[in-house]
Amino acid sequence: MSVMDVRSRQVRVPRRFLPVAATFAVFVLTFGAGSLRYEGFASPQVLTNLFVDNAFLIVLAVGMTFVILTGGIDLSVGAVAALSTMIAAATLEAGWPPLVSVAAVLLTGTCLGLLMGLVIHHFEVQPFIVTLAGMFLARGLCFLISVESVSITDPAFRAAATGTLTPVEGVTLTYSVLIALAVVLVAAHVLHRTRFGRTVYAVGGSEASARLMGLPTGRVKVGVYAVSGFCSALGGLLFSLYMLSGYGLHAVGMELDVIAAVVVGGTLLSGGVGYVAGSVAGVLVLGTVQTLISFEGTLSSWWTRIVVGVLLLVFVVFQRAVVRRAR
């Protein structure tokens, strides 16, 4: 009787990948539907444009994934991205070398994130509030720098922004896409192949347990906000390449888009469950919605909003259904 035979329930498809798989399925389906409905939709360039137009969102979503995995939330990402565009534009205008300017942006973003993380962890203030205050702060700082939008005229930035790659005939993509994809790969590696990443999941699963298990929960909780801050800054830089300008009202409400993308990608807001791949899929789904609407071309302003909401709903319900069926 010394060896117990405790069989676990049969696992058919790895259950934890289901939400991600479901999101990818939704993406493929919508894209397919778009291709049937609209001429010119089924081109590789339209697909590539999803990445080109959403590179910054992907980077922000990666950072947000870290935070949400620990059970936190970061409402400051949009504002920090806007601040990044502003700092980049302002410093470049002041004649800083582009690299220094980039470093300044990344440093500021990371520091802001770090600061919020420290407050959240050491003072035990709810992340929602701290990052909401962080959002006010970052937006306010934008306006302190300048209330108007500032153009980026630096040749290096312009070259990076307008430069394109043509890996295949008829498909052009920007450097931003490569950066975003690199960020995704690094993030996936960090989450699954480092102790930091494992601890992120552990904290999301049960912070009290993680602490009793002797994991450095404090460091990780602060760390994810720093990661998110860094990603917001990097996303902001990509955004400033996309727009070639800095403006305090850039990326208003983007935090909600990012959260939506992450959640549509199957990550639970309660923490502990989710993958960056899911977040990427989430961004692609939301991007497809926008593309569909542009191709439709007859929607009035209000119908645009209604359709965005309804499609979001359809995705979430579909995903729920898939995940539930599999249970």
Binding site: E39, G40, F41, S43, Q45, V46, N49, V52, D53, F143, V147, E148, S149, V150, S151, I152, T153, R158, A161, T162, F239, L241, Y242, M243, L244, S245, G246, Y247, G248, L249, H250, A251, V252, G253, Q290, T291, I293, S294, F295, G297, T298, L299, S300, S301, W302, T304, R305
Partner: protein, 300 residues
Amino acid sequence: GADGSDGAGDDGTLTLGFAQVGAESGWRTANTESIQQAAEEAGIDLQFSDAQQKQENQIRSIRSYIQQDVDVIAFSPVVETGWDAVLLEAQRADIPVILTDRAIDSEDDSLYETFLGSDFVEEGRKAGRWLVDNSDGPTNVVELQGTTGAAPAIDRKEGFEEAVSGSSDIEVIATQDGDFTRSGGKEVMEAFLNSHDDIDVVYAHNDDMGLGAIEAIRAAGLEPGEDIRIITVDAVRAGMEALAEGEINFIVECNPLLGEQLMELVEQVAAGEEVTKRIEVEETTFTQEEAEAALPDRQY
């Protein structure tokens, strides 16, 4: 997807891709309707998208118009800067671009064919000039600004300041962001009324804030238009009605009805004609008497 819309060109109809800012005000809605109606009348195929006040959405729409290979692209830029990359793309795809309503700030003006819209600074100046002409003695002005950082807000403020700077009597004693909305205007005005008891004139960057201010003034037991004079910009219907009733004293028009002018331009540009870089929309100003006369046949 080039062959997709060649068909559109073949049967002679033009396709116009129009990327609207959003539907943030009655003015904007009138602007949208004017464009839609004019396109229909001119027999132009309109691909319309609404960016919900987000520049990235607008850029995305323009990209998709390039993908759809429309004949002309027009848009009202959300902000002045940051259009170079996408406009370059349009240029490479040989699609002419027309700006409406708001200008862009780019060194390379070959990126667009023409800009059709109002001169916000001039609107501010008109408001200021009227005040200078119509005030004697010390005049304390409070200013209800549009959304911080928005081009009309900046320009209308600048123009107004420029025009009143000559007069030593006129002083702007407070200025605050009222977000272009009625409730914003009302709330800010309430605060002004509580902290200043010597307000003579309200200058609001749009009608809606002015209408909100009227509510606040009335609630404070004062007579809008009499005790405190009100100057606004836009001339939407509700504003004009208030003007006719004597609650507003002066409105500078900012005309949203540029659909017809736009369609003409689209046809010219598509035909490869050379057009001037800057085309101003016809705009006027209204006093109370003029408003009464104009109201019956205002379209919006």
